[in-house]
Symmetry: C2
Subunit: 370 residues, 2 copies
């Protein structure tokens, strides 16, 4: 079995459709990875996540190293056995959560010292420890450890963090033992020069795939697209390109048009738990009183289990009442919406119709959006 | 199709196994009804509730009349369509929740005035309104409206409440329009004379089935069994006997031995959400540290989806982390445990082996109980 290979089947402008092949299964690209933060895609059974069309999950190194702990997961057989998901799992490096969730973080050349958001205990995360944790979990695709900056960072801070992240990328690759695959992460904020230097540094190290980090952190879609316009093509065309933490359905479409192959985002699951359902006519808030006696499914025509079996009036009642089943049904619909969107884009690329699809999708989606 | 019929197939001592036949399906007895308080068995999809072996659900009139409202449920097609459960539904009368959940209740001969626990709005529930609400919901088995007493009630209060409940039972029957079935509820606390008078009053009115109310309200299992020893046989042998709000697995066994045919209880679902899993060796609390790296299923040998796919170490992690999937997996196991217990008792009755089964079950179950 191939350790890791990426075949592009069709291109359509900058967009590509293809397949990543790994020991635990194939990943159709462009791919959306549901987020299984603490070894569970919230409110979903793993078999139902698979049925939505997901080929791969993302799990969070930061959360799992704190609870239940990477060594414990390793002792009970690794993350796949633990959570009942046999297919590939990508783990992030922990760098993002350390900076966004922890208190008292201190960045040195060695790594990041932080206090757990759960119990305040002190931990040190280094490139070497991040890869070790990802190995203990049994990750299929590991991410190099990098440094996240707040949106307020100066140009000088951006350069320093990018350069440190590239030194950490080299140490991450050095700690990688050849099981599974490892991706590097391009940094450099919104700056073309920094993005170019970062891409070249990663290429010099050599990775199985290349991620774009530091976007979708509040810069807005227009600015994100402007950066993608130069950042994506800096990364090797024959390797998967992964836009981290993105995003809204319209972001996925814009990024696929620009040649991105992989995505992850908590939006479909988190939104599902707060009452937002995605539809081709834009998102709806099922808590809205206009759905109180609405006997349509969440999205008319949707083949997902929620839309096949239940009406808006019922989901409205469940979500308003705080019932767990409301979160379950909303999440399942949203994951199906995201996976159907990816399948439609893969098909459109195969038929050289992506631009026409994207135009029609975005017009319809935005017309009704709040 | 029969409106309502009850056939006893086998008896074993006082115990009976049989079948209730109704337009929406058959109910194997002795039957356990999962509780779908607000039109959802919490944390379960209806198809998965059915797969656990449930032939019938109980839904709460009090909760549904307040949210989403009985008239609304009727306008959107009734409770079965609303919640996606095609089989029979039994609705309680609301009497129990009015007294246990509401504030500012005032009991008169007409009915009970109360303030909603949701928004403080004032409502009047009478026998006629209770039956109307149950009709609007589309209930298959309706319960007569009765008066609940606190455990501190005096003998005189018990007599007055029982006698009022019997007048309300007659009014409930009078309001019943012949769609579905209606059960009366025996009251009288722990007193044999009152229980006898109550049973006779209900028989004089005439019901499709007879429930035993006012037990499992804190009197303890020994006292409950003492009352069942005389209360059950006061009820017609050719009609289903339903022990309301019961109970623990050992209560079900003791009551089936004494001739009870139907049960409902929130215990398997509520316990599931708080970390208690039922097993043949007694309940376990999955949060306990001894399960942190335990690779057995919740109950070794259990054929439920949770035990087939997941290990204690994972469920322990989910429940400790407050993950929704923890509630889902625990609830599903507990519902399977309850339904498997009922199936085992039905089989044991058919084979005239109930007493031997009960002895073995109770010995094993209690040996390890906390």
């Amino acid at each position: 079995m191939t350790r890791f290979s990426f075949q592009i089947a069709t291109t359509d402008g900058a967009a590509r459709s293809g397949m990543i092949s790994m020991a635990r299964g194939e990943i159709r690209t462009p791919a959306f990875m549901p987020v299984g933060t603490a070894a569970t895609v919230k409110a979903m059974k793993p078999d139902d996540v698979r049925a939505s069309g997901a080929d791969i999950l993302l799990c969070n190194t930061y959360h799992l190293m704190l609870r239940p702990g990477a060594e414990r997961v390793a002792r009970v057989g690794g993350l796949h056995d633990f959570m009942g998901w046999e297919r590939p799992i990508l783990t992030d490096s922990g760098g993002y959560q350390v900076m966004s969730l922890s208190d008292l973080t201190k960045v040195t050349e060695e790594g990041v010292t932080f206090a757990s958001h759960l119990d305040g205990s002190r931990h040190l995360l280094t490139p070497e420890r991040s890869i070790e944790v990802q190995n203990l979990l049994g990750s299929d695709i590991m991410m190099a450890f990098d440094q996240l900056l707040p949106a307020t960072a100066t140009a000088q801070q951006q350069r320093e963090a990018m350069e440190r992240s590239m030194r950490w990328a080299a140490r991450s690759k050095g700690a990688f033992n050849g099981h599974g695959a490892i991706f590097g992460i391009q940094q450099g904020g919104l700056d073309e020069t920094l993005r170019g230097e970062s891409a070249q540094a990663l290429i010099d190290i050599g990775f199985d795939g290349y991620a774009i980090g530091g976007l979708a952190v509040g810069e807005g879609q227009e600015e994100m697209c402007r950066v993608l316009d130069f950042a994506v093509e800096m990364l090797p065309a024959d390797r998967p390109r992964y836009l981290m933490g993105v995003g809204k359905p319209e972001d996925l479409v814009e990024a696929v048009l620009r040649g991105v192959d992989m995505f992850d985002c908590v939006l479909p699951t988190r939104s599902g738990r707060t009452g937002q359902a995605f539809t081709a006519d834009g998102p709806i808030n099922i808590r809205n009183a206009r759905f109180a006696e609405d006997r349509e499914p969440l999205e008319p025509g949707c083949p997902c289990p929620t839309c096949t079996h239940f009406e808006r009036t019922y989901v409205h009642h469940l979500v308003r009442s705080g019932e767990i089943l409301g979160a379950m049904l909303m999440t399942e619909h949203n994951l199906w919406f995201y996976q159907r969107l990816m399948q439609t884009m893969r098909d459109a690329i195969s038929q050289q119709q992506l631009f026409a699809f994207a135009k029609g999708f975005l017009e319809r989606y935005r017309k009704s959006s709040p």
